[in-house]
């Protein structure tokens, strides 16, 4: 199969000619550079090292679980002031959800991470007036709290909750757009 390419922006005015300024540089691999004669190609994933890394994550799990509990408690506290116009509370609420989105899944709280991701995406696309109605944010924070308290929830229920949150967000957007 032949790839059809539109003239690249890189190619300058005439895509069929190599602009003099374009240069391809072959970079030696870091492994080769660092190991010299000891370098054996190709480098492969070492199961023992991977196990060591996974143990490291497991060791951090308990500490993270404690921190997650206090973060969720803080989220609940922040909902009200955030929805009443407190910019600082909004910013902290987003920062907490953003942290959960990035970290919860790594430490075995994938569902918390998914709800936090949904909340982050809502906040990222929200306008100031969206905060006047606290329904979407409150429901997300409740879902996060429930996911943390009931980690063995049926995945179907989780999926349904995520869908419900999506519908809630869509309805809120429609309402906003309708004026």
């Amino acid at each position: 199969m032949q790839e059809r390419r539109s003239p690249s922006r890189l190619a300058g005015k005439d895509a069929t000619e190599t602009p003099a300024e374009v240069r391809f540089v072959r970079v030696p691999s870091i492994a080769e550079r660092k190991l010299g004669a000891d370098y054996v190609a190709p480098m492969r994933l070492d199961p023992r090292v991977l196990e060591q890394m996974q143990t490291t994550i497991r060791d951090l799990e308990t500490k993270y679980a404690e921190s997650l509990q206090s973060q969720v408690a803080m989220l609940q506290i922040l909902v009200e002031p955030a929805c009443k116009g407190d910019a600082e509370a909004r910013s902290r609420l987003y920062a907490l959800a953003h942290d959960m989105r990035g970290l919860a899944g790594t430490f075995g709280h994938a569902i918390v991470g998914q709800f936090a991701d949904s909340l982050c995406r809502y906040v990222e696309n929200s306008r100031a007036e969206d905060w006047n109605d606290d329904t979407v944010v409150t429901f997300h924070v409740d879902a996060i709290r429930d996911a943390l308290e009931n980690p063995r929830t049926d995945p179907t229920v989780t999926m349904e909750t995520l869908n419900a949150l999506e519908r809630l967000i869509s309805a809120a957007r429609r309402q906003r757009n309708a004026g």
Binding site: M1, Q2, E3, R4, R5, R9, L10, G12, A15, T16, E17, T18, P19, E21, V22, R23, F24, V25, R26, V27, P28, S29, I30, A31, K34, L35, D38, Y39, V40, A41, P42, M43, R44, L45, V49, L50, Q52, M53, Q54, T55, T56, I57, L60, Y64, S67, H98, D99, R101, G102, L103, A104, G105, T106, A110, G113, D117, C120
Partner: protein
């Protein structure tokens, strides 16, 4: 026993989340990396790069005030220094195609989606350390070659003219 490349490496981790910095640093140390530098955002990372030159950078995408995209763009824009060619792994919770393409177009070497796992991080590191892509220097782009697959295409193959550093 053979030497591990990780023991000889210096890695800069840029993330505004203290927990994420700690996690990445601990995982890198578990891999054997002895020299891990930490920065809380792009500004601090650029400042750090004035005095040290790591072999690799792992950066978050969403940070304040300077995010990972601006940081990578600034780094790639530095002319005449090997520093601008350091491999960059971007870690991000934004895995939509727009974000991934944006990262690619500013010269990110590898993209790692959050939540990270030990395996995904390890695999990306091997990719960057052992299988580097040639570096492209053009008026509108500086970064690793964005074409990963060797497929036939129309037009001149400009990749035949490779300089070796």
């Amino acid at each position: 026993m053979s030497r591990s490349v990780f023991e000889a490496m210096s890695i800069l981790v840029v993330d505004d989340s203290a927990y994420m910095r700690h996690l990445l640093m601990t995982l890198l140390q578990a891999l054997g990396v002895r020299e891990v530098h930490l920065a809380i955002d792009g500004d601090e990372a650029l400042e750090l790069l004035q005095t040290s030159e790591p072999d690799l950078i792992i950066t978050d995408a969403a940070m304040m005030p300077m995010d990972g995209f601006s940081f990578a763009h600034r780094l790639r824009s530095i002319r005449g220094r090997a520093l601008s060619m350091i491999p960059i792994i971007m870690v991000s919770g934004h895995t939509d195609i727009v974000s991934v393409e944006r990262a690619r177009d500013i010269g990110i070497t590898e993209f790692l989606s959050k939540p990270i796992s030990a395996r995904s991080l390890y695999e990306r590191l091997i990719q960057v350390i052992d299988r580097p892509r040639q570096f492209v220097e053009a008026p509108t782009y500086r970064g690793p070659d964005r074409r990963r697959r060797d497929r036939p295409f129309e037009g001149q193959d400009r990749r035949n003219t490779v300089a070796l550093i």
